[in-house]
Amino acid sequence: MTDALGMLAGGFAHVFAGGAAFHALWAVLIGIVIGALPGLTATMGVALLTTLTFGMGPNVAMMVLVCVYVGAIYGGSRSAILLNIPGTPASAASTLDGYPLARQGLAGRAMGISTTGSWLGTLFGTLILALFAPSFGEFALQFGSYEMFWVAMFGIIIAGSLSGGDPLKGYIAGFLGLFVATIGQEANHAYPRFAFGNGDLAGGLGLLPVLVGVFGVAEVLSSMRGPAVKAVSSTIDSVIPRLSDIAKYWRTIFRSGALGTLIGAMPGLGEDIAAWTSYAAAKRASAEREQFGKGSVEGLMAAETGESACVPGAIIPVLTLAVPGSAPAAVLMAAMMIHGLNPGPMLAITSPEFIYQIVAMLIVADMVKLFYGLVLVKPLLWILLIPRERLMPVVFVLCTVGAFAITSRLFDIWVMLGAGLVGFVLRELRFPMAPLVLGIVLGDLLDKNLLRGLVLSGGDLTPFFTRPISMALCALTLAAALWSIPGIGRLFGRRQAAMPK
């Protein structure tokens, strides 16, 4: 305990001594703006800002990216409340009660509730991260190739099962992502797979250009296609949160915080599922459930707390297993690798203090978020009024810079364009994007560990099923896959599409 507190103090000292805390002031603001603007998601924000951090030290870079992530997930609630359009997919559940509150002339109160819920959610999730990530990291040291193969497989299956409405399309998206990750030279014999004699393809498809394409270019195309939206009102009542709301709904806050963190810690699920699940759980437990969907303070509080608690939750598997808990966390993980920080089981040995540095960064980001949430009301309303015809081409230019900057190859811009067009078509066909991203990120992990495991066992498959942790992970993976089969799911009382839409 004393060690942990000492390392936490060290984490804060690290954040403040290097001047990284100063960067929180602008990075959280950029995150909130990105999150608030419909069409710009947290994943895209973290991917684009990764480009800006190339020249920074790892400490400042991580501070900036964590702040953008925290800010963007919160910022989405502004457009959810004022436009009835979730600024990020995570805020979709907030539209159900946030927008009705705004229509009742209580936009300010709704924003106050969203600020409080989001602040407490991130704080709760960060506390869980600080308490459990180090010991889980030590447990993860027991994971060998066989176990890591199943971790990757479990991530794909659970993300496929739960991240869209359609598990079949989720699985296909996951395997497409895994396939994309196999393009280029493999590790054992340096054989260029699916390169067709092309030197650029032999180098593989960069994670960042693909992500910028799937989340940036595809978003630009999607937002230019639909009709324009208008803010519900330009007059806002007081945004100062009421303590009575916190006192009255403390059970909802705790439940949503716990659910959000837990869902965040599951590979690939992410903030939108955390928000929906917290909302559904609050509705089931509430004494005023008939108010849900008509402007319920409790509903909005649950959704906001759940989605924001998911952010630290999604970072837990990044730090302990090198497996991202959500799509923005996948980009954050890629950025950690770019900056030479190697997340994963070895982190508990090589630099255990890094976990507490991330905890300190999350707390600083959360505090700055609270400040902006209470202070920046009118300016954010003006930003929401920027016409997409003027915003989207600028976003596209930033995507191009983001795709090019990492390796300075024009080929990466083509990868971004290709990934953007394919991502757009897949979205239109209702394929979820989270398993696709997770597949691309986990592809290398799965590939290396499957082959390494086979070599270690001399071709014997039994260790994949008989080692204790392997067996448990295999059972979890199979259970997740069986759960998504309609007949079997119903046997155990699973309701199809139980999440509210």
Binding site: K169, L178, H189, Y191, R193, F396, T400, L451, G458
Partner: protein, 176 residues
């Protein structure tokens, strides 16, 4: 049963893809999956180097390809059961939507695929932002068109110069 009436396999799902679209997607994915497996089979096995052939580069992509093919068959069967063959083609979306989408895609590909790398980046970006904004705002209130075009030019120029200054001078990144 028309496509509009074909029930989604997931009650409550918003605007599911039509059975016809799912059927075509399944066919494309099946071909992709089979092509991946076929290509993976043709990859060298490196038996001499590894002794067992267990590090053959084709094993993992072959597995992914076969899973894609298998799952696409399931998707196809489900689409058929939802009336994918019987139903008429998908109801056309609003023509305006399609035109806006095509315009955005063409402008984006022209900028990133053609202009970038051939023209100075600030100029390519300025031209793209100007063309994009002007094209999408062209049909709004004709009496204010000249002003909007001037504003688009200013935004384009501002973006090109700001991106160059921020990324190249401030953050020391190479631009295309």
């Amino acid at each position: 049963m028309s496509e509009a009436e074909a029930p989604s396999p997931f009650s409550g799902e918003k605007a599911p893809a039509s059975p016809r679209a799912d059927l075509v997607t399944a066919a494309v994915l099946f071909v992709l999956g089979v092509a991946i497996v076929a290509h993976a089979f043709q990859m060298p096995r490196f038996v001499a180097q590894s002794g067992t052939g267990l590090t053959a580069p084709g094993i993992v992509p072959g597995f992914h390809g076969s899973m894609i093919a298998l799952l696409s068959v399931l998707l196809g069967v489900r689409a058929l059961r939802r009336g994918g063959l019987a139903a008429r083609g998908p109801v056309a979306q609003g023509g305006g939507d399609g035109r806006r989408l095509a315009l955005a895609a063409v402008l984006g590909v022209t900028y990133a695929g053609v202009l970038v790398g051939r023209a100075p980046f600030w100029l390519a970006s300025a031209l793209f932002v100007f063309a994009f904004t002007t094209a999408f705002e062209w049909n709004e209130d004709p009496s204010r068109r000249a002003r909007r075009v001037a504003e688009a030019a200013a935004i384009g120029l501002g973006t090109g110069l700001a991106v160059m200054l921020v990324f190249e001078k401030l953050f020391l990144l190479r631009l295309p």
